[in-house]
Subunit: 202 residues, 2 copies
Amino acid sequence: MAKTIKDPEQHKKRMQAIKSHVDKRIAKAQEDKGTFVLLTGNGKGKSSSALGMVARALGHGMKVGVVQFLKGEWNTGEIDFFKQQQGIRWEIMPAGFTWETQNRESDIASSQQAWTQAIEMLTDPSFDLVVLDELTYLLHYEYLNEDAVIEVLMQRPENQHLVVTGRGASEALVALADTVSEIKEVKHAFKIGIKAQKGLEF
Amino acid sequence: MAKTIKDPEQHKKRMQAIKSHVDKRIAKAQEDKGTFVLLTGNGKGKSSSALGMVARALGHGMKVGVVQFLKGEWNTGEIDFFKQQQGIRWEIMPAGFTWETQNRESDIASSQQAWTQAIEMLTDPSFDLVVLDELTYLLHYEYLNEDAVIEVLMQRPENQHLVVTGRGASEALVALADTVSEIKEVKHAFKIGIKAQKGLEF
């Protein structure tokens, strides 16, 4: 799937469509409207930052949708915490980490299933904030067609905020986003042998 | 205050004390113990990432303490949200942003007051996670003595996690932390005229 992503003409066409979208957006920037925040880079803090924005939005009485790609059945503090809150829909991609499943066919099926849930949120104006956690990996591995994803992100309700996280965000995602932070690892406790800590990493 | 910070001998002594602390830490790294995460850099996502870790920790039933330096009386989603949760103590430095107050004496008094609350958390083993949001600014402006702060951070209960956020973290803080992320601004919606958005920035 999505082999045309690497086609130069296709790439050019996509980037032009994004540029046109962004130009229109800048022209109307003074209005209060949905902002797309992209959190990428190899450092710690991308998903946790998205979760912090979920907390902020809930604090303002906003309705929030979260799709966690790649989390599988892993038990995390954020799930236990946010599932009991009001005003949130939380979806987790079935099946574990892709590097655990080792099965491209089933990974693609799981990705499509989770993406279908994301589309429901991204086409529903009642959601004030949508978080697509770790989405970039699915695009990188071409489990989802990036053109199709970009199209849905561009067409989302105009007052809906969007947060996308994950390493290695593509040029197209960076171009489309309003705010982009690259979270760089300066050092990481894992590297001196400290294991993943409850409450910090999960 | 804290003028000795720029003294080379003092600096060397401090860095040696930190190195000795970190060496001991690495030697015992396999144990499950408190990790110090430092989130710095000029991009969006530092405080929100800390808030995400608060949510994770609460989800695991951990006790959390938060001190927000520089937030003043600003009404934020995170305050409305987290204040109603169980297992959290949340303190906000009195008086507004320092660049609003323009009064060094009162800023120092407010800083000391907030730091005293932080010390209560950092010396109480019942807190599993302590967040010191925007602490770096107070050190940068020398509202707090960095040596005294570093000493308290090093002496905290050994299973207590710590998250410090803010731009321009000092060499000493970077040296002391287990995990350091630099959040770089690639682009920011503010720069194209989009104002701070409820649910994302506050």
